[in-house]
């Protein structure tokens, strides 16, 4: 037996250890890495919220951590205690976006005794389980960081962490959900092979790679050259997870019907185009809306002129992204009589991201398409009249395809172009419906379950050997 270990990050020295044991089939221990007075040690008094009985901010944070540890612990089986070194600290954020947290293994291992697949890197926690003992006694297995500034004016203003345990987070960000997500990365839900460069870690593939399959190259990541992995990492919605446990449970989790823009005329543009779904308005569903696509001559941020209103009335409006929020554009088109809206991205990249925002008065469907697709489709619009064009579409679903899976029912991974460091390859694609815990962004409708039929996180870990 050859024992190989690679340290991925330096453990904090002098960390205050505060073990929290989950009463479950696996024991997850939280190591409080915060200094006195901050993070988990913040003594600011708080009122109980949503079943969280802590009386200080730090206590409530730790109780939320214990809740997440309990949920994962009840799901996993291991005789070896899993140790998570956790801190709450300032992470990247702006007034409108924030890194909620990050996590990964502190060490990875290969070729230990009992390893199911030699010559592949395993995350520390799963390596311990498979080895049957702690390969690295005294050292944490997972490093996790969470944003301590969330909700402050320059950090996703108005959306702080919700510390309750009952998922009633309203417009706040549910901390337990974020913890479950980040613990998932630490437990195995992340690739050790570099998705940006395609480089393997120290010349060996990770356990992730045999399951990561590219539909364009018809190879998994282990079978590819480094250059092929690099291109696969940005092959939007063309990379799927082939593990049997995930695939078997996928029909019970994902909804049948994949949103898409089907062009039905003209003949030279026929086909299905990728869309990013909207978080407001009616969900794209069968039979969808069918009609003629008509562009407008403005950014759509003001009520439409008579000419633009005439163009979109009873038609599907094509509006460029930019200047104002998506809901404003869609509402203006709706007010002018449009039956649907296509937002054309204004920056290159694929697949199209979703459309954020909220406006309960929006009643027509809308979706985003890529800049490249928009440019292509516009060729059919030059010869339009004021009221009609040659571009006929259906904004609806492929009824035979699970939302977020390929036509063979395998869940798609998040592989946007350009590459998103920290997100690409190690998440499910954002098109998954219902929403999954391990998508790159936290959706408001997630439960605290990591199992089918609510979620596929545990199924993927099972594929990896958990």
């Amino acid at each position: 037996m050859k024992l190989n270990k690679l340290l991925l990050g330096a453990a904090l020295t002098g960390a205050m250890a505060l073990p929290i044991a989950a009463n479950a089939a696996a024991t997850i221990v939280i190591v409080n890495g915060n200094a006195p007075g901050v993070g988990f040690n913040d003594a600011t008094p708080v009122a109980p919220v949503g079943g969280n009985v802590g009386t200080t901010l730090g206590q409530q944070r730790l109780i939320a951590f214990q809740e997440a540890a309990n949920i994962w612990g009840a799901t996993l089986n291991s005789n070896v205690t899993i140790s998570v070194l956790a801190t709450m600290e300032p992470l990247t954020c702006t007034s409108s976006s924030a890194v909620l947290g990050s996590a990964g293994p502190l060490s990875v291992w290969r070729d230990f005794a009992g390893v199911p697949m030699p010559a592949h890197w395993y995350h520390g926690a799963i390596a311990d389980k498979l080895f049957g003992a702690d390969l690295d006694p005294g050292q944490p297995d997972i490093r996790a960081r969470f944003n301590s500034n969330l909700g402050q004016p320059n950090c996703l203003a108005g959306s702080p962490f919700y510390l309750g345990l009952d998922t009633n987070h309203g417009t706040a960000i549910d901390l337990v959900t974020v913890l479950l997500h980040e613990f998932g990365h630490g437990l195995g839900f992340s690739n050790v092979t570099n998705g940006s460069t395609g480089a393997q870690l120290a010349g060996f593939p990770s356990m992730w790679d045999p399951f990561l399959y590219d539909l364009s190259l018809n190879k998994n990541w282990e079978q590819m050259t480094q250059a092929e992995r690099q291109s696969s990492g940005i092959n939007g919605r063309k990379v799927v997870w082939t593990g049997n446990n995930v695939t078997a449970l996928t029909p019970s989790v994902l909804t049948l019907g994949t949103p898409r823009l089907a062009v039905t005329a003209p003949a030279n543009l026929l086909g299905d185009y990728l869309v990013g779904a909207a978080s407001y308005g009616p969900a794209i569903a069968a039979p969808g809306v069918s009609g003629t696509v008509m562009p407008i001559s403005t950014d759509g941020c003001a009520p439409l002129s008579a000419a633009n209103a005439l163009a979109v009335k009873n038609n599907i409006a094509l509006i460029d992204r930019g200047v104002c929020g998506f809901t404003i554009k869609v509402k203006n088109a709706q007010d002018a009589g449009a039956i649907g809206v296509i937002i054309a991205d204004n920056v290159a990249g694929t697949p199209p991201a979703g459309l954020g925002g909220a406006d309960p008065s929006i009643t027509i469907p809308s979706a985003r398409i890529t800049l490249a697709d928009a440019t292509l489709l516009r060729t059919a619009l030059k010869t339009r009249s004021r009221t009609s064009s040659a571009l006929k579409v259906n904004l609806g679903v492929n009824p035979n395809q699970l939302a977020g899976a390929d036509t063979a029912g395998r869940v798609m991974m998040f592989t946007p172009s350009p590459y998103q460091s920290g997100s690409s390859v190690s998440h499910w694609d954002t098109s998954a419906t219902r929403n999954l815990l391990m998508e790159p962004s936290i959706n408001g409708d997630l439960t605290h379950s990591v199992n089918a039929p609510e979620d596929l996180s545990k199924a993927l870990l099972t594929d990896l050997g958990w």
Binding site: A265, P266, T292, S297, A307, L310, A380, K382, T383, R384, S385, R386, T387, S388, S389, A390, L391, K392
Partner: protein, 224 residues
Amino acid sequence: MKALSIAAALLLASGVAQADPIFTEDFDDITTLAGDGWALINNSTAGGQTSWFQGNDGVFSAYEGSDNSYIAANFLNAGAGGQISNWLITPLLTLNEASYLTFYTRRNDSEFFDSLEVRFTTSDSINVGSSANDVGDFTSMGMVEVLLAGADYPLDWVQVRVTFGDIGFGNGRIALRYVVDNTDLNGDYIGIDSLTVGVPEPTSLAVLGLGVFGLLAARRRARV
């Protein structure tokens, strides 16, 4: 196979023997026009996204033939707020005083109005000037003008007929000119199909004079 409209035939019933057309164009494929001697000149300011283009059956279908077998122009001939002057000029033709031009045209249904002129020059010229206001060699005494404009522009395919009379003798070119003054306020989409130039026997033309034209309401025909 094309059929002349009954209305047009009635106009000719004043003793003029019907002759075979000397020239026909059905606009089945407008990429062949230049090779056949046509000139397509978009003099609009500022320049737009389009010039004359193959008909778009997503707006309306051709008078006859396959759905897109007509030639069309639209408000995008000029940029936003621009002035459209878009010329479609026939090859050089030899005419007599009995010669006539027929074509079918229609517009799209909106309050953004289009206009179309028919002009003529008695030379082998395609000089239309250099700006949207210019008409070049198409403005002299040789001009025959049909102006379809505003709400009078038909909403369904209608045959337009132009006769040339005395000015038709000799060589010349006929121009169809799509004109819009300001694309912020006017201009939509027009189509032109089944253009014919005929030269009947010039013996009994007493009833036809200079500049006589007919715009006759023809019902839309089933496509062949």
